[in-house]
Symmetry: C3
Subunit: 342 residues, 3 copies
């Protein structure tokens, strides 16, 4: 039994250590096809080689969230196997597109530690980097999780809370080399709305809904080699329910947001995010978006929108109660930067 | 909310207009593998590169119905989002094989319009063409749907009902360039039955059955980027049931028909089709076929069979009641041309 | 109806005959991605092209069990469509890795026949060989099944029971050409345990569990073109339950065994196996392993472990009752050779 991985406990993390995560993964058209089967994903750039070439890329890149899930999944056995909660994301940047045939691996640096006052758990902050076979960084983001202590007598580490930006500065966004939206085909992409058509404060109800099935969220979560047993084993929780991987909700909401944001073609920044409430099979997920900001970029024809994407089981545009807490129907509150033709 | 696609209503269509449908799609071995996982598809030509080469093709083509679903799925946001019913198909022809790496897009021409006498809806006839990255047509077919009016006061258009052939003439069938069945390996294909072994009027019970799951039909329908919410959102219909995409039934029945028609290797024509009754998760689909016609072709060793493929929840060979209406267990009545070694 | 395949009955087999199984199959990154979605498979060698190259292979091979299921699935219409029970496996050897783009086919030689004393069924022994497009053998194994007689009056054949080895001798194991574990990266692979760290008699509880869904086992079983209707048709068995393909349990248990056996990188031998009890949707599968043997190999840095892999719905390390029969919770008892870095 000593040979299985019990996961790390709070006292096992050291500030500054770098953890190389296991199981590199080569992605292909198989992962792309499955992504399209699991989510109603229709952004043309991640669907058509021809469309991507017309936008200056060599072939169609993998959906940005395939990159996110693949990089994230590798961190689970080292970071969140004993996590009580996934508390937040910050400073996420997509640094290079991932193409079929690329091989991804991940590493995380521990950048913050804070034991909780109850002495039973603590918060671990990591900066995770995904790299391809050329050692090029494709994604980095900060995540913090609450992790149980394995030995309650282990001494508390010095408290270090990293300073994290509330939002990734538009100047720090990295655009794919060669990206050019001057010849962007709005008819093929599915909607006529340009960067200039969106205004800060505007809210969009994405209208469509998807009812979630056990088989689907498990297929998705395994695809990213995410091993947290709470997603797979109906006997694990006392209530007999399998908790759905938060990333499944992110991808579902992002795909649903096509209807109204078809031209928000690529995700380049992840400013923050909260899994507001747990999601279970049988829930019907809908999504709405609020435009939080706009920025120009140096790439021809390319603007950036800062978007709040909310996944909900309830009515659109409802988020928090008078107590400042998320309403029970809200599943996800995600703040990201996307590229849009001007 | 103005940014989301409400779909077109009957009064939004103009005779002769050509609608370019959104979201081109590059297909790969991923779509093929998923097709084999979703359906018991075993036709050797669409399964093995070696087998396809022995039949004169460069590599194994995608199953013809992958082409159909991909082309069809793109039309949904423009044609059938507000459809009350999918009424029929005609004059369908597969014009060129689709191979892994090809990129498909669709366009539809409005070829007929007829407002219903109740003034609340009308019938729209479109001829849809699927094209690959070389602008080569890979599929065309006529479909007609009943679409709601959005504005009941909109004036009725002049009635135009296109003249449609009852059956695609064998002379108009297009065979893949180079196709040659003279070296066809019947043992590898799975059955010894040749074109000459089938007689007009013959009926075949395909014996096997598949019980349908929610997760499966949603995976399939999303894979084709078909966005009609009635397939995905359990809260959409008053009865809380998700209606299964008719194309899922077509593919299931076609795959089941392997048992008895293993050598009906390629679909080249779609003469007509009716989704006789709705299908829901939990239904067990079986299939039977009636041979409707036979034709020779100009390709070496290749004959054509005209086949009626019926999907049913009930007993084989039952189709319509004394009133001429489909019996309640019948799900699909499809009339197509397939290529068979002579 | 004469055109459908009724399957062979016991009296249809002749000692020494070789049956070429139908429907060759080209595999790609699509099958690999689906395998990762269906099972929590994480062995680095079958996940990353880079990792595989560092171990001396040209690219990442398909998971060995993809090869097994693909070869096995083709035999079903000829061998086990009328099988009452799948009785055992022996003398299984993986003879060459399968890579994306390879095309597989199968053939089986009847090597034994024994009619049961009740006269209603008999045992058929076959040696099945899977071959790739270069006619190279990739897998061979012996399987024996109990098959019903179709005609109870058919005479019993002479009884021939093949002599089968209890275990594949380590000297007979075939290692992939070029395989070299001297530069094996244990951190990327996920665990530090080497061949020398495992001792005969050691038992490992793999800890994790997966609850099985109907949609998932059907996707898997169809992916291998396995057509036995008992897996798909809920109306087939009197109890309305679909029996899960035994190979689904094998793959699930093998993938779960990563946790503790992450470096058991490749399966090269299959000594024996029993599907101890039927598995149904809703069951939660867990796995444990006992180390049965160890052997050196001629490849640099490569050792072999003989492992008993048990899939169970119950507690680890429980196998048989006092009567020598498998306990009701035990689903699978598999005896195999895997390659491990020394």
């Amino acid at each position: 039994m000593a040979k299985t991985n019990p996961g790390r406990f709070f006292e096992d993390y050291r500030l500054g250590e770098v953890i190389a995560h296991a199981v590199p993964r080569t992605v292909s058209g198989g992962e792309r096809a499955l992504y399209h089967a699991l989510y109603p994903a229709r952004h043309a750039l991640a669907s058509s080689d021809e469309f991507a070439r017309a936008c200056g890329l060599p072939v169609s890149p993998m959906d940005d969230l395939i990159t996110f899930h693949t990089v994230f999944g590798k961190t689970v056995p080292d970071i969140s196997l004993n996590a009580v909660a996934n508390l937040g994301y910050a400073e996420g940047r997509f640094l290079a597109p991932v193409y079929p045939g690329d091989t991804l691996r991940s590493e995380s640096e521990v950048i913050g530690l804070k034991q909780n006052s109850n002495g039973k758990s603590g918060v671990v902050y990591v900066r995770t980097t995904g790299r391809n076979q050329d050692n090029q960084s494709v994604l980095e983001y900060v995540r913090w999780v609450m992790v149980r202590k394995g030995n309650l007598d282990a001494p508390a580490p010095d408290t270090t809370i990293p300073e994290l930006a509330d939002v990734v500065s538009p100047d720090d966004l990295v655009l794919p080399e060669g990206l050019d939206f001057t010849g962007y085909d709005f008819a093929l992409a599915g909607e006529p709305h340009r960067w200039g058509d969106y205004t800060v404060g505007e809210r969009i109800d994405h209208v469509d809904g998807v009812t979630i099935e056990e088989a689907e969220h498990m297929l998705a979560t395994r695809l990213w080699q995410n091993t947290a047993k709470v997603h797979f084993d109906a006997t694990f929780r006392p209530d007999g329910r399998r908790l759905i991987y938060g990333g499944h909700v992110i991808s579902m909401a992002r795909a649903l947001s096509f209807n109204g944001l078809a031209n928000a073609s690529m995700i380049v920044g992840l400013n923050g995010g909260a899994h507001a409430n747990p999601c279970f099979a049988g829930d019907t997920i809908k999504a709405w978006t609020e435009v939080l900001g706009k920025a120009e970029t140096s790439a021809p024809g390319v603007g950036a929108l800062r978007l709040r994407l909310v996944a909900t089981k309830g009515a659109p545009f409802e988020l928090k109660g008078e107590d400042g807490k998320y309403l029970p129907d809200v599943l996800l509150d995600l703040d990201y930067w996307a590229l849009v033709p001007v």
